[in-house]
Subunit: 255 residues, 2 copies
Protein backbone atom coordinates (compact mmCIF):
# COMPACT_ATOMS: atom_id res chain seq x y z
CA UNK A 1 0.00 0.00 0.00
CA UNK A 2 1.12 3.52 -0.72
CA UNK A 3 0.23 5.08 2.61
CA UNK A 4 1.68 3.43 5.71
CA UNK A 5 0.62 4.85 9.06
CA UNK A 6 3.96 3.87 10.58
CA UNK A 7 5.71 6.22 8.14
CA UNK A 8 3.90 9.13 9.77
CA UNK A 9 5.00 10.60 13.10
CA UNK A 10 2.69 10.66 16.13
CA UNK A 11 4.86 13.54 17.35
CA UNK A 12 6.71 15.97 15.10
CA UNK A 13 10.11 16.66 16.65
CA UNK A 14 10.87 19.58 14.35
CA UNK A 15 8.05 21.77 15.61
CA UNK A 16 8.65 24.26 18.40
CA UNK A 17 5.82 24.41 20.90
CA UNK A 18 5.80 28.13 21.65
CA UNK A 19 6.26 29.24 18.06
CA UNK A 20 3.63 26.76 17.00
CA UNK A 21 1.04 27.87 19.52
CA UNK A 22 1.40 31.49 18.43
CA UNK A 23 0.94 30.56 14.81
CA UNK A 24 -2.06 28.42 15.72
CA UNK A 25 -3.74 31.28 17.57
CA UNK A 26 -3.36 33.55 14.55
CA UNK A 27 -4.70 30.87 12.24
CA UNK A 28 -7.69 30.22 14.49
CA UNK A 29 -8.63 33.90 14.48
CA UNK A 30 -8.44 33.98 10.68
CA UNK A 31 -10.53 30.82 10.54
CA UNK A 32 -13.14 32.55 12.70
CA UNK A 33 -13.37 35.57 10.40
CA UNK A 34 -13.56 33.46 7.22
CA UNK A 35 -16.05 30.99 8.68
CA UNK A 36 -18.32 33.89 9.59
CA UNK A 37 -18.11 35.12 6.01
CA UNK A 38 -18.85 31.63 4.68
CA UNK A 39 -21.92 31.56 6.93
CA UNK A 40 -23.08 34.96 5.65
CA UNK A 41 -22.50 34.02 2.01
CA UNK A 42 -24.55 30.85 2.36
CA UNK A 43 -22.98 29.18 -0.67
CA UNK A 44 -20.20 26.83 0.46
CA UNK A 45 -19.89 24.50 3.42
CA UNK A 46 -17.19 22.43 5.08
CA UNK A 47 -17.48 18.90 6.43
CA UNK A 48 -14.66 18.05 8.76
CA UNK A 49 -14.32 14.33 9.40
CA UNK A 50 -12.30 13.42 12.51
CA UNK A 51 -11.21 9.81 12.77
CA UNK A 52 -8.79 8.16 15.16
CA UNK A 53 -8.75 5.52 17.87
CA UNK A 54 -10.20 6.13 21.34
CA UNK A 55 -8.60 9.07 23.15
CA UNK A 56 -6.86 10.34 20.03
CA UNK A 57 -8.32 13.75 20.90
CA UNK A 58 -11.28 14.27 18.59
CA UNK A 59 -13.30 16.27 21.12
CA UNK A 60 -10.39 18.46 22.11
CA UNK A 61 -9.50 19.41 18.58
CA UNK A 62 -13.10 20.39 17.88
CA UNK A 63 -13.15 22.72 20.88
CA UNK A 64 -9.89 24.35 19.85
CA UNK A 65 -10.79 24.76 16.22
CA UNK A 66 -14.11 26.60 16.64
CA UNK A 67 -12.90 28.94 19.38
CA UNK A 68 -13.21 32.15 17.33
CA UNK A 69 -15.98 30.96 15.02
CA UNK A 70 -19.54 32.22 14.80
CA UNK A 71 -21.37 29.48 16.73
CA UNK A 72 -24.50 29.94 14.62
CA UNK A 73 -22.65 28.42 11.66
CA UNK A 74 -21.02 25.57 13.57
CA UNK A 75 -22.57 22.12 13.90
CA UNK A 76 -20.93 19.26 15.75
CA UNK A 77 -22.12 15.69 15.55
CA UNK A 78 -20.73 12.75 17.53
CA UNK A 79 -21.54 9.40 16.02
CA UNK A 80 -22.41 6.67 18.52
CA UNK A 81 -23.31 3.02 18.02
CA UNK A 82 -26.21 2.96 15.52
CA UNK A 83 -29.71 2.54 16.95
CA UNK A 84 -31.95 -0.32 15.88
CA UNK A 85 -33.76 2.02 13.49
CA UNK A 86 -30.49 3.22 11.97
CA UNK A 87 -29.31 -0.37 11.49
CA UNK A 88 -32.51 -1.07 9.58
CA UNK A 89 -31.38 1.42 6.91
CA UNK A 90 -28.29 1.60 4.71
CA UNK A 91 -25.28 2.81 6.69
CA UNK A 92 -25.20 6.26 5.10
CA UNK A 93 -28.85 7.00 5.92
CA UNK A 94 -28.14 8.51 9.32
CA UNK A 95 -25.00 10.22 8.06
CA UNK A 96 -26.72 11.98 5.17
CA UNK A 97 -29.23 13.53 7.58
CA UNK A 98 -26.51 15.50 9.37
CA UNK A 99 -24.29 16.77 6.53
CA UNK A 100 -23.82 20.57 6.56
CA UNK A 101 -26.26 22.95 4.97
CA UNK A 102 -24.83 25.72 2.86
CA UNK A 103 -22.82 28.16 4.95
CA UNK A 104 -22.13 25.71 7.76
CA UNK A 105 -18.96 24.17 9.11
CA UNK A 106 -19.97 20.70 10.30
CA UNK A 107 -17.66 18.57 12.41
CA UNK A 108 -18.12 14.80 12.45
CA UNK A 109 -16.59 13.23 15.54
CA UNK A 110 -16.29 9.71 14.16
CA UNK A 111 -18.24 9.17 10.96
CA UNK A 112 -19.30 6.70 8.27
CA UNK A 113 -15.79 5.23 8.49
CA UNK A 114 -16.80 3.55 11.73
CA UNK A 115 -19.14 1.44 9.59
CA UNK A 116 -16.09 -0.12 7.97
CA UNK A 117 -13.79 -0.15 11.01
CA UNK A 118 -15.92 -1.73 13.71
CA UNK A 119 -17.68 -4.47 11.70
CA UNK A 120 -14.37 -5.48 10.09
CA UNK A 121 -12.54 -5.94 13.39
CA UNK A 122 -15.52 -7.20 15.40
CA UNK A 123 -16.69 -9.38 12.48
CA UNK A 124 -20.45 -8.89 12.85
CA UNK A 125 -21.15 -8.03 9.21
CA UNK A 126 -20.17 -10.33 6.28
CA UNK A 127 -16.98 -9.14 4.61
CA UNK A 128 -18.54 -8.87 1.14
CA UNK A 129 -21.06 -6.39 2.55
CA UNK A 130 -18.34 -4.33 4.19
CA UNK A 131 -16.25 -4.53 1.02
CA UNK A 132 -18.81 -2.56 -0.98
CA UNK A 133 -18.72 0.29 1.50
CA UNK A 134 -15.31 1.53 0.36
CA UNK A 135 -16.56 2.60 -3.06
CA UNK A 136 -19.93 3.70 -1.74
CA UNK A 137 -18.17 6.14 0.58
CA UNK A 138 -16.11 7.55 -2.28
CA UNK A 139 -19.32 8.13 -4.22
CA UNK A 140 -21.03 9.72 -1.23
CA UNK A 141 -18.22 12.18 -0.55
CA UNK A 142 -18.12 13.08 -4.24
CA UNK A 143 -21.84 13.84 -4.07
CA UNK A 144 -21.29 16.23 -1.19
CA UNK A 145 -18.56 18.06 -3.07
CA UNK A 146 -20.88 18.61 -6.06
CA UNK A 147 -23.08 20.64 -3.72
CA UNK A 148 -20.35 23.04 -2.61
CA UNK A 149 -19.25 21.07 0.44
CA UNK A 150 -15.51 20.77 1.01
CA UNK A 151 -14.85 17.45 2.72
CA UNK A 152 -11.75 17.51 4.96
CA UNK A 153 -10.72 14.17 6.42
CA UNK A 154 -8.25 13.79 9.27
CA UNK A 155 -6.70 10.71 10.75
CA UNK A 156 -5.42 11.54 14.24
CA UNK A 157 -2.27 9.53 14.57
CA UNK A 158 -1.69 8.74 18.24
CA UNK A 159 0.85 6.32 19.69
CA UNK A 160 -0.17 3.38 21.80
CA UNK A 161 1.73 4.92 24.74
CA UNK A 162 0.03 8.32 24.51
CA UNK A 163 -3.34 6.60 24.23
CA UNK A 164 -2.65 4.65 27.41
CA UNK A 165 -1.75 7.81 29.37
CA UNK A 166 -4.99 9.45 28.35
CA UNK A 167 -7.12 6.41 29.13
CA UNK A 168 -5.53 6.18 32.58
CA UNK A 169 -6.28 9.86 33.22
CA UNK A 170 -9.94 9.00 32.80
CA UNK A 171 -9.63 6.61 35.73
CA UNK A 172 -7.57 8.98 37.85
CA UNK A 173 -9.16 12.40 37.41
CA UNK A 174 -12.68 13.07 38.63
CA UNK A 175 -13.24 15.60 35.80
CA UNK A 176 -12.58 12.81 33.29
CA UNK A 177 -14.38 9.83 34.85
CA UNK A 178 -17.37 10.42 32.59
CA UNK A 179 -15.24 9.64 29.56
CA UNK A 180 -14.14 6.26 30.86
CA UNK A 181 -15.50 3.09 29.27
CA UNK A 182 -14.18 -0.36 30.20
CA UNK A 183 -14.72 -1.32 26.57
CA UNK A 184 -12.03 1.11 25.42
CA UNK A 185 -9.47 -1.19 27.06
CA UNK A 186 -10.80 -4.16 25.10
CA UNK A 187 -10.60 -2.16 21.88
CA UNK A 188 -7.03 -1.22 22.77
CA UNK A 189 -6.13 -4.92 22.64
CA UNK A 190 -7.03 -4.75 18.95
CA UNK A 191 -4.96 -1.62 18.30
CA UNK A 192 -3.00 -3.14 15.42
CA UNK A 193 -6.06 -4.67 13.80
CA UNK A 194 -7.75 -1.29 13.78
CA UNK A 195 -4.65 0.32 12.32
CA UNK A 196 -4.67 -2.26 9.53
CA UNK A 197 -8.22 -1.35 8.57
CA UNK A 198 -7.39 2.34 8.81
CA UNK A 199 -4.52 1.83 6.37
CA UNK A 200 -6.83 0.17 3.89
CA UNK A 201 -9.27 3.09 4.27
CA UNK A 202 -6.56 5.72 3.83
CA UNK A 203 -5.49 4.03 0.61
CA UNK A 204 -8.92 3.23 -0.80
CA UNK A 205 -11.38 5.93 0.28
CA UNK A 206 -9.11 8.52 -1.23
CA UNK A 207 -11.11 10.26 -3.94
CA UNK A 208 -10.93 12.98 -1.33
CA UNK A 209 -7.49 12.66 0.28
CA UNK A 210 -6.76 12.17 3.97
CA UNK A 211 -4.62 14.31 6.23
CA UNK A 212 -2.59 12.30 8.71
CA UNK A 213 -1.95 14.40 11.78
CA UNK A 214 0.54 13.87 14.65
CA UNK A 215 -1.76 13.47 17.65
CA UNK A 216 0.37 12.70 20.70
CA UNK A 217 0.27 16.35 21.74
CA UNK A 218 -2.78 18.61 21.57
CA UNK A 219 -0.84 21.63 20.29
CA UNK A 220 0.55 19.61 17.39
CA UNK A 221 -2.72 18.27 16.12
CA UNK A 222 -4.52 21.58 16.50
CA UNK A 223 -1.77 23.27 14.48
CA UNK A 224 -1.94 20.65 11.73
CA UNK A 225 -5.74 20.69 11.44
CA UNK A 226 -5.96 24.50 11.60
CA UNK A 227 -3.48 24.77 8.74
CA UNK A 228 -5.66 22.65 6.45
CA UNK A 229 -8.91 24.34 7.45
CA UNK A 230 -7.46 27.83 6.97
CA UNK A 231 -6.03 26.95 3.55
CA UNK A 232 -9.42 25.54 2.52
CA UNK A 233 -11.28 28.67 3.61
CA UNK A 234 -8.76 30.91 1.87
CA UNK A 235 -9.11 28.95 -1.36
CA UNK A 236 -12.90 29.25 -1.39
CA UNK A 237 -14.24 32.22 -3.26
CA UNK A 238 -15.77 33.82 -0.16
CA UNK A 239 -17.57 37.11 -0.68
CA UNK A 240 -19.93 39.23 1.35
CA UNK A 241 -23.30 39.00 -0.40
CA UNK A 242 -24.66 42.02 -2.26
CA UNK A 243 -27.66 43.89 -0.88
CA UNK A 244 -30.85 42.22 -2.11
CA UNK A 245 -33.63 44.79 -2.09
CA UNK A 246 -36.38 46.08 -4.36
CA UNK A 247 -36.61 49.34 -2.45
CA UNK A 248 -33.33 50.45 -0.95
CA UNK A 249 -29.70 51.01 -1.76
CA UNK A 250 -26.87 52.96 -0.14
CA UNK A 251 -28.10 56.15 -1.87
CA UNK A 252 -31.74 55.52 -1.19
CA UNK A 253 -32.19 54.66 2.46
CA UNK A 254 -35.41 54.45 4.51
CA UNK A 255 -36.46 57.68 6.19
CA UNK B 1 -52.57 43.03 32.39
CA UNK B 2 -49.94 42.68 35.06
CA UNK B 3 -46.86 42.91 32.86
CA UNK B 4 -46.58 46.00 30.64
CA UNK B 5 -43.65 46.14 28.28
CA UNK B 6 -43.60 49.94 28.48
CA UNK B 7 -42.84 49.67 32.21
CA UNK B 8 -39.54 47.99 31.34
CA UNK B 9 -36.52 49.96 30.15
CA UNK B 10 -34.94 49.31 26.74
CA UNK B 11 -31.79 50.86 28.23
CA UNK B 12 -30.87 50.71 31.92
CA UNK B 13 -29.40 54.10 32.86
CA UNK B 14 -28.09 52.90 36.20
CA UNK B 15 -25.62 50.40 34.75
CA UNK B 16 -22.03 51.43 34.12
CA UNK B 17 -20.65 50.06 30.87
CA UNK B 18 -17.09 49.29 31.95
CA UNK B 19 -18.01 47.80 35.30
CA UNK B 20 -20.73 45.82 33.63
CA UNK B 21 -18.54 44.39 30.91
CA UNK B 22 -16.01 43.18 33.45
CA UNK B 23 -18.72 41.46 35.47
CA UNK B 24 -20.12 39.92 32.29
CA UNK B 25 -16.76 38.46 31.31
CA UNK B 26 -16.39 36.81 34.72
CA UNK B 27 -19.91 35.44 34.52
CA UNK B 28 -19.36 34.07 31.02
CA UNK B 29 -16.25 32.19 32.16
CA UNK B 30 -18.17 30.68 35.07
CA UNK B 31 -20.98 29.75 32.69
CA UNK B 32 -18.43 27.97 30.50
CA UNK B 33 -17.10 25.89 33.39
CA UNK B 34 -20.54 24.96 34.67
CA UNK B 35 -21.95 24.18 31.22
CA UNK B 36 -19.05 21.81 30.63
CA UNK B 37 -19.88 20.07 33.90
CA UNK B 38 -23.55 19.88 32.96
CA UNK B 39 -22.51 18.27 29.67
CA UNK B 40 -20.32 15.74 31.48
CA UNK B 41 -23.00 14.90 34.03
CA UNK B 42 -25.56 14.24 31.31
CA UNK B 43 -28.53 14.74 33.63
CA UNK B 44 -29.87 18.27 33.23
CA UNK B 45 -30.31 20.50 30.22
CA UNK B 46 -31.15 24.13 29.51
CA UNK B 47 -33.43 25.49 26.83
CA UNK B 48 -32.88 29.17 26.23
CA UNK B 49 -35.71 30.81 24.32
CA UNK B 50 -34.81 34.15 22.71
CA UNK B 51 -37.72 36.26 21.51
CA UNK B 52 -37.83 39.84 20.32
CA UNK B 53 -38.65 41.84 17.21
CA UNK B 54 -36.35 41.93 14.16
CA UNK B 55 -32.86 43.25 14.98
CA UNK B 56 -33.38 42.98 18.73
CA UNK B 57 -30.05 41.13 18.82
CA UNK B 58 -30.86 37.44 19.19
CA UNK B 59 -27.88 36.24 17.14
CA UNK B 60 -25.43 38.52 18.91
CA UNK B 61 -26.46 37.46 22.37
CA UNK B 62 -26.08 33.81 21.42
CA UNK B 63 -22.52 34.39 20.21
CA UNK B 64 -21.59 36.24 23.38
CA UNK B 65 -23.17 33.78 25.75
CA UNK B 66 -21.46 30.60 24.52
CA UNK B 67 -18.00 32.15 24.16
CA UNK B 68 -16.35 30.06 26.90
CA UNK B 69 -18.63 27.03 26.61
CA UNK B 70 -17.76 23.53 25.46
CA UNK B 71 -19.12 23.61 21.90
CA UNK B 72 -19.91 19.89 22.00
CA UNK B 73 -22.70 20.62 24.48
CA UNK B 74 -24.10 23.67 22.67
CA UNK B 75 -26.90 23.50 20.11
CA UNK B 76 -28.32 26.54 18.37
CA UNK B 77 -31.48 26.48 16.34
CA UNK B 78 -32.91 29.39 14.33
CA UNK B 79 -36.58 29.00 13.53
CA UNK B 80 -37.61 30.16 10.07
CA UNK B 81 -40.99 30.25 8.36
CA UNK B 82 -42.43 26.70 8.63
CA UNK B 83 -42.10 24.48 5.55
CA UNK B 84 -45.14 22.93 3.91
CA UNK B 85 -44.45 19.67 5.71
CA UNK B 86 -44.15 21.43 9.06
CA UNK B 87 -47.44 23.28 8.46
CA UNK B 88 -49.09 19.91 7.87
CA UNK B 89 -48.35 18.97 11.49
CA UNK B 90 -49.28 20.56 14.80
CA UNK B 91 -47.16 23.66 15.48
CA UNK B 92 -45.06 22.01 18.19
CA UNK B 93 -44.07 19.05 16.00
CA UNK B 94 -40.98 20.70 14.57
CA UNK B 95 -40.13 22.33 17.88
CA UNK B 96 -40.18 19.10 19.85
CA UNK B 97 -37.64 17.56 17.49
CA UNK B 98 -34.98 20.08 18.46
CA UNK B 99 -35.34 20.36 22.24
CA UNK B 100 -32.09 19.68 24.13
CA UNK B 101 -30.96 16.20 25.04
CA UNK B 102 -29.67 15.69 28.56
CA UNK B 103 -26.45 17.61 29.14
CA UNK B 104 -27.06 20.15 26.40
CA UNK B 105 -27.59 23.88 26.39
CA UNK B 106 -29.93 24.55 23.49
CA UNK B 107 -30.59 28.06 22.22
CA UNK B 108 -33.80 28.78 20.31
CA UNK B 109 -33.48 31.90 18.16
CA UNK B 110 -37.19 32.57 17.78
CA UNK B 111 -39.36 29.66 18.86
CA UNK B 112 -42.89 28.29 19.17
CA UNK B 113 -43.94 31.80 20.22
CA UNK B 114 -43.72 32.87 16.58
CA UNK B 115 -46.69 30.56 15.99
CA UNK B 116 -48.79 32.89 18.10
CA UNK B 117 -47.19 36.18 17.08
CA UNK B 118 -47.14 36.01 13.30
CA UNK B 119 -50.56 34.45 12.64
CA UNK B 120 -52.21 36.85 15.11
CA UNK B 121 -50.82 39.98 13.47
CA UNK B 122 -50.92 38.71 9.89
CA UNK B 123 -54.32 37.07 10.43
CA UNK B 124 -53.77 33.89 8.41
CA UNK B 125 -54.98 31.44 11.06
CA UNK B 126 -58.45 31.67 12.71
CA UNK B 127 -58.25 33.30 16.12
CA UNK B 128 -59.88 30.38 17.95
CA UNK B 129 -57.08 28.11 16.70
CA UNK B 130 -54.41 30.56 17.85
CA UNK B 131 -56.20 31.01 21.15
CA UNK B 132 -55.63 27.37 22.13
CA UNK B 133 -51.89 27.69 21.61
CA UNK B 134 -51.35 29.73 24.77
CA UNK B 135 -52.29 26.87 27.09
CA UNK B 136 -50.72 24.25 24.84
CA UNK B 137 -47.38 26.06 25.13
CA UNK B 138 -47.66 26.17 28.92
CA UNK B 139 -48.24 22.39 28.92
CA UNK B 140 -45.34 21.79 26.53
CA UNK B 141 -42.83 23.77 28.58
CA UNK B 142 -44.01 21.99 31.72
CA UNK B 143 -43.36 18.66 29.99
CA UNK B 144 -39.79 19.69 29.21
CA UNK B 145 -39.17 20.66 32.82
CA UNK B 146 -40.31 17.22 34.02
CA UNK B 147 -37.41 15.78 32.05
CA UNK B 148 -34.73 17.90 33.74
CA UNK B 149 -34.79 20.74 31.22
CA UNK B 150 -34.66 24.26 32.65
CA UNK B 151 -36.57 26.53 30.29
CA UNK B 152 -35.29 30.13 30.30
CA UNK B 153 -37.34 32.62 28.32
CA UNK B 154 -36.10 36.07 27.36
CA UNK B 155 -37.92 38.95 25.77
CA UNK B 156 -35.35 41.31 24.24
CA UNK B 157 -36.82 44.73 24.78
CA UNK B 158 -35.55 47.05 22.06
CA UNK B 159 -36.80 50.56 21.28
CA UNK B 160 -38.23 51.46 17.90
CA UNK B 161 -35.33 53.92 17.42
CA UNK B 162 -32.60 51.39 18.17
CA UNK B 163 -34.27 48.89 15.86
CA UNK B 164 -34.26 51.47 13.05
CA UNK B 165 -30.55 52.17 13.48
CA UNK B 166 -29.74 48.48 13.23
CA UNK B 167 -31.97 47.89 10.21
CA UNK B 168 -30.32 50.82 8.42
CA UNK B 169 -26.87 49.39 9.17
CA UNK B 170 -27.89 46.34 7.17
CA UNK B 171 -28.38 48.58 4.14
CA UNK B 172 -25.21 50.59 4.73
CA UNK B 173 -22.57 48.03 5.70
CA UNK B 174 -21.44 45.37 3.25
CA UNK B 175 -20.78 42.91 6.12
CA UNK B 176 -24.45 43.20 7.09
CA UNK B 177 -26.22 43.22 3.71
CA UNK B 178 -26.95 39.51 4.05
CA UNK B 179 -29.17 40.22 7.04
CA UNK B 180 -31.35 42.70 5.19
CA UNK B 181 -34.90 41.80 4.26
CA UNK B 182 -37.31 44.33 2.77
CA UNK B 183 -40.05 42.56 4.71
CA UNK B 184 -38.53 43.64 8.03
CA UNK B 185 -39.56 47.21 7.16
CA UNK B 186 -43.16 46.08 6.61
CA UNK B 187 -43.11 44.24 9.93
CA UNK B 188 -41.78 47.41 11.57
CA UNK B 189 -44.99 49.19 10.53
CA UNK B 190 -46.79 46.78 12.82
CA UNK B 191 -44.42 47.33 15.76
CA UNK B 192 -47.20 48.19 18.21
CA UNK B 193 -49.41 45.31 17.12
CA UNK B 194 -46.56 42.87 17.74
CA UNK B 195 -45.91 44.41 21.14
CA UNK B 196 -49.56 43.93 22.02
CA UNK B 197 -49.36 40.20 21.26
CA UNK B 198 -46.06 39.94 23.14
CA UNK B 199 -47.74 41.46 26.19
CA UNK B 200 -50.50 38.89 26.07
CA UNK B 201 -47.86 36.12 25.79
CA UNK B 202 -45.79 37.47 28.68
CA UNK B 203 -48.90 37.48 30.86
CA UNK B 204 -50.39 34.17 29.73
CA UNK B 205 -47.59 31.77 28.84
CA UNK B 206 -46.13 32.27 32.26
CA UNK B 207 -46.10 28.89 33.96
CA UNK B 208 -42.41 29.41 33.33
CA UNK B 209 -41.77 33.12 33.84
CA UNK B 210 -40.24 35.49 31.31
CA UNK B 211 -37.20 37.68 31.72
CA UNK B 212 -37.53 41.09 30.08
CA UNK B 213 -34.13 42.37 29.10
CA UNK B 214 -33.02 45.90 28.08
CA UNK B 215 -31.85 45.36 24.51
CA UNK B 216 -30.84 48.74 23.06
CA UNK B 217 -27.18 48.05 23.84
CA UNK B 218 -25.43 44.71 23.35
CA UNK B 219 -23.49 44.93 26.62
CA UNK B 220 -26.69 45.43 28.58
CA UNK B 221 -28.58 42.47 27.21
CA UNK B 222 -25.60 40.15 27.45
CA UNK B 223 -25.16 41.11 31.09
CA UNK B 224 -28.83 40.54 31.87
CA UNK B 225 -29.04 37.17 30.12
CA UNK B 226 -25.72 35.94 31.54
CA UNK B 227 -26.93 36.72 35.06
CA UNK B 228 -29.98 34.49 34.65
CA UNK B 229 -28.09 31.65 32.96
CA UNK B 230 -25.35 31.67 35.60
CA UNK B 231 -27.85 31.65 38.46
CA UNK B 232 -29.66 28.72 36.82
CA UNK B 233 -26.48 26.70 36.40
CA UNK B 234 -25.43 27.44 39.99
CA UNK B 235 -28.79 26.29 41.31
CA UNK B 236 -28.64 22.97 39.47
CA UNK B 237 -27.11 20.15 41.45
CA UNK B 238 -24.16 19.75 39.06
CA UNK B 239 -21.67 17.02 39.95
CA UNK B 240 -18.84 15.30 38.12
CA UNK B 241 -20.05 11.74 37.54
CA UNK B 242 -18.50 8.88 39.50
CA UNK B 243 -16.24 6.40 37.73
CA UNK B 244 -18.39 3.62 36.24
CA UNK B 245 -16.24 0.51 35.88
CA UNK B 246 -16.39 -3.17 36.66
CA UNK B 247 -12.62 -3.49 36.58
CA UNK B 248 -10.82 -0.37 37.67
CA UNK B 249 -10.71 2.24 40.41
CA UNK B 250 -8.12 4.77 41.55
CA UNK B 251 -6.36 2.05 43.57
CA UNK B 252 -6.61 -0.58 40.90
CA UNK B 253 -5.42 0.88 37.63
CA UNK B 254 -4.60 -0.91 34.36
CA UNK B 255 -1.01 -2.01 33.98
Amino acid sequence: MKIKISDHPTFNKEWDKKENEEKTKKMLKKIGRLQNKMYAQNKFSILLVLQGIDASGKDGITKGLVKYCNPLGIKIFSFKKPTENEYAHDFLWRVHQVVPRKGELQVFIRSHYEDILVPTVEKFIPSDVIEKRYEVINDFERLLETNGTKVLKFYLNVSKEAQKERLIERIELKEKHWKHKDGDWDTREKFDEYLGVYERILNTCNVIPWHIVPADKNWQKLYAVAEVVLKTLEDLDLKWPELVSERFNTQNKPE
